[in-house]
């Protein structure tokens, strides 16, 4: 199936014919790069393309690395390590200040050059923080002026909330000169570089913001630096991107990328097989074999920065005893789940952490081993009498959620745990606080390469699990605080290890089941490599026919 439609081929033909009369002009217009169509389940949940409003897996797919770029990036195809992106280098001034040198000659989609002024604006109250304050603001007088937003440019309230969550103590960003910026934090923080690489810390054109009539107008067509610019966005329908030929990283390999929303899995697969789509995303694992039976197609993909968990409510009468929760963790044959439901194409990780944590990665840690005898012994020690434990379940919110739950219940039953599935309609019902809340499903991500972005953010004192009253632990909270505030790497790593011990072994808050994965089917003739993430990389060097 050709990647260029008949209409565009005709257009190219006419352009070629016209070149006889207007050679210079026509040659400049000639563009033989292919255009592709990608079928996705959803383009954007929030109907916007603002990285602070649309913080989702589907958002990550269209944003990175096509539209939005940060100062520090991730090596999408090389282990997600931090790499220079819009900043070429950075250094620590002290424990709470980072200075970055900006890449020169970077052009926004509107043709303007990126300067320190755009970076400062990207982290301003007007764009990011509104009236929110750094937690420890008293240490530095920051953001003196709280500007009144212009009519129509008010930020949706969740934007400053998300921004402050990502940058709880950022005091101010200062332009040292045209190509140098400094980030001042109100408290010492070793994770500033990680925060700079995270989803949401991306740079936008100040002029692009000012030229837009309203926040919504801007959020549907943000002016950024990525290799592709937004041409057309019809919420719930499609997003069309076009090559940004002034991209600092070289000429993009594709002329156009069209993301189309195809909510049904069979429709995505049929469209791929009929040649309408070159890529079909969000393919369930049980469809992989069927697609790959056709030699013209292959399914790529694998693990992403997200782990599936079983979460416990330690206030439940039976689960209050940590021995019972520990029995849960040892009764699960995680590899069997990976092999049977995921075709072996994901893995059981080393607890709630990811390889890309680098020095903070606790390499000798592991999930509780599958040991039914130990589980039974723990239940005996706990004096468990077979009381029913409720398991609130959503209907396949997560891939394979229901079959996983059914397998889990059988595994738990095998060691003597009486777990009863209660099917629920929504997250509100799942999280509703009452005596019948026992076990539930969840997943946790790591937005940047440090455990404060996952175990602390989700299970620490300000994390959801404690905020909804499922679990708390005094010592774990002390460890979370050390990880957030200490500037001693060794002490932080020790605190992380201890928090893992508490949350996953001694007083289980959750247990990790497996790493989540995403699968993309594509025409085999296309040379393209997937990232271990939802992000799809179509920068120079990662697409060829």
């Amino acid at each position: 199936m050709p990647l260029v439609s008949r209409r565009s081929a005709l257009g190219l033909g006419l352009a070629a014919a016209g070149s006889l009369a207007l050679p210079r002009f026509a040659i400049a217009q000639a563009d033989n790069r292919p255009s592709i169509t990608i079928a996705v389940q959803k383009v954007s949940n929030s109907n916007t393309l603002d990285v602070l409003r649309e913080q989702s897996n589907v958002g990550e797919r269209v944003f990175f690395s096509s539209i939005w770029e940060g100062l520090i990036g991730r090596d999408w195809l090389g282990g997600l390590k931090k790499v220079p992106l819009l900043a070429t280098e950075w250094k620590r001034i002290d424990a709470q200040t980072v200075e970055l040198k900006l890449r020169q000659g970077v052009k926004f989609h509107n043709g303007e050059e990126m300067t320190a002024e755009d970076v400062v604006f990207s982290f301003s109250r007007e764009r990011m923080f509104a009236a929110t304050e750094a937690k420890n603001r008293s240490t530095i007088k920051a953001f003196e002026r709280i500007p009144t937003p212009r009519p129509g440019k008010e930020l949706p309230p969740e934007v400053p909330a998300a921004a402050r969550r990502a940058w709880p103590d950022l005091a101010r960003v200062e332009a040292v000169d045209k190509y140098t910026v400094r980030f001042y934090n109100a408290t010492p923080d070793l994770t500033l570089e990680g925060r700079l690489s995270r989803y949401g810390s991306d740079i936008m054109s100040r002029k692009g913001w000012e030229d837009a009539a309203s926040y919504l107008d801007w959020a549907r067509k943000p002016v950024t630096t990525g290799p592709y610019k937004i041409v057309d966005f019809k919420p719930d329908t499609y997003l069309v991107l076009e090559a940004h030929d002034e991209y600092w990283g070289g000429r993009p390999p594709l002329k156009r990328i069209r993301f189309v929303e195809v909510p049904e899995v069979p429709s995505r697969i049929n469209g791929l097989l009929s040649g309408e789509y070159q890529f079909a995303c969000d393919i369930p694992p049980d469809q992989i074999v069927g697609i790959e039976k056709n030699a013209a197609f292959e399914v790529q993909g694998g693990t992403i920065l997200n782990h599936r968990l079983t979460v416990f409510d330690k206030n439940h009468a039976v689960l209050a005893n940590p021995l019972v929760r520990r029995a849960f963790t040892h009764a699960i044959d995680r590899q069997a789940i990976v092999d049977s439901l995921w075709a072996g194409r994901t893995k059981v990780p080393k607890g709630l952490q990811w390889d890309y944590y680098d020095d903070m990665f606790v390499s000798d840690w592991d999930v509780p081993k599958y040991d039914p005898a130990l589980a039974m012994d723990l239940l005996k020690q706990a004096g468990y009498k077979g009381d029913a434990i409720p398991y609130r379940l959503l209907n396949n919110y997560y891939t394979n959620q229901v079959p996983t739950a059914q397998i889990l219940v059988e595994m738990w039953k095998a060691v003597g745990l009486n777990v009863e599935i209660q099917t629920k309609e929504s997250w509100t019902q799942i999280m509703e606080r009452n005596d019948s809340r026992g076990v539930r499903d969840w997943s946790n991500s790591a937005p940047f390469n440090d455990p404060v972005s996952s175990i602390v953010a989700q299970h620490g004192p300000n994390g959801q699990q404690q905020q909804i009253g499922e679990w708390t632990n005094v010592e774990a909270n002390q460890m979370a605080e050390i990880m957030e505030t200490s500037i001693d790497p060794a002490q932080r790593k020790k605190a992380f290890r201890r928090m893992l011990e508490i949350c996953e072994r001694e007083d289980p808050a959750y247990t990790v089941l497996h790493q989540n994965a995403t699968f993309t089917a594509k025409q085999k003739s296309i040379k393209w490599k997937t990232a271990p993430a939802f992000a799809m990389d179509f920068r120079p060097g990662n697409f060829a026919l």
Binding site: P157, V262, G271, Y397, S426, I430, Q464
Partner: protein, 311 residues
């Protein structure tokens, strides 16, 4: 007559109020829009900011009354997903849906009516059996199965038509066929049984005994009498023009009102759901009124009865 119209309008208003209340209760009690839109991993402060901005942190009865108060003033609310007026979102989808449902309605009527009449007039013959077999098949196969089969044949195997999307008129062919086949089957079955019932009536025998030619008896006596139940079904089909393609729009990735409804319900985007429900209710009420008027036109006894009642 004035009383008749007023009572109809009052009934319609009560129906719509009940529908809106039901939707409010079901949607609000079954899920928190903040969690639905922001996702289960959203930080607590982000959820709190969202709830506060949309008044979701108020007591549910207060939310209900303020919503009703707003509707009374003509304000149908805004989408919680992007803050746009719900009515705008719904209105911009209606042409897309009508682009499927109107041709499908024409197909249902164009195929279903003649097929049903023909089958009734040739009762027991091979054509009757064929038509009824096809009608039963078309009636019983769910639209999502039929849609996928059509895609498999015409898109994947033959490569003649696109499998989904809304880029050109060719993209509408398969969804229109999917909608039309099922509806035509239903209409054929109803028309056939209505015709058979009429054909067995004494007045038909009388007409034929009097020497009225067969085709004249059919045209003047059988068809008008068989039209009453058929018009009822067609009226119902007209009532589903706005939101009757939910499944088909999902299967064919067609960005119409049905898709919007699915997304809005999934996100508990109350204002959008209720706006669609109001439109659907209004369409249903309008089509029912139309059917009532057609009854009067088709059946002189109803006209006489209405006049007699008026005296």
């Amino acid at each position: 007559m004035v009383y008749f119209i007023l009572s109809r309008i009052a009934r319609a208003v009560i129906t719509v109020a009940l529908v809106v209340t039901f939707a409010f209760v079901v949607l609000r009690l079954s899920g928190d829009p903040a969690l639905m839109i922001m996702g289960p991993e959203a930080p607590p402060e982000v959820l709190a900011a969202f709830r506060s901005a949309w008044g979701l942190d108020l007591p549910i009865w207060q939310q209900y009354f303020s919503y009703f108060g707003a509707i009374a003033q003509g304000e149908l609310g805004r989408s919680m997903r992007d803050g746009r007026p719900a009515i705008e979102l719904v209105l911009e989808r209606i042409p897309s849906t009508l682009a499927l449902t109107l041709p499908a309605l024409a197909m249902k009527v164009g195929i279903g009516l003649p097929a049903g009449i023909y089958a009734a007039l040739h009762r027991g013959g091979p054509i009757d059996r064929l038509v009824m077999t096809l009608a039963v098949a078309g009636f019983t196969v769910p639209s999502f199965v039929l849609g996928l089969v059509l895609v498999l044949v015409f898109s994947v195997m033959l490569g003649w038509l696109p499998s989904g999307g809304q880029d050109s008129w060719r993209h509408a062919i398969l969804p229109v066929l999917t909608l039309g086949i099922g509806g035509a089957a239903i209409l054929a079955r109803f028309t056939r049984s209505a015709m058979l019932e009429v054909l067995g009536q004494p007045y038909m025998r009388t007409a034929l005994a009097k020497g009225v030619p067969w085709h004249v008896a059919i045209r003047s006596h059988a068809l008008p009498n068989a039209a009453i139940p058929t018009v009822t079904i067609i009226g119902f089909m007209v009532g589903t023009l706005i939101a009757g393609a939910v499944v088909v729009e999902s299967v064919f990735s067609w960005p119409g009102v049905g898709r919007l409804l699915v997304v809005a319900v999934a996100n508990r985007d109350l204002a959008v759901v209720q706006c669609i429900l109001l439109l659907v209710a209004a369409t249903m009420v309008a089509s029912n009124l139309l059917v009532d008027f057609l009854y009067g036109y088709l059946d002189p006894r109803l006209r006489t009865g209405a006049r007699a009642g008026a005296h």
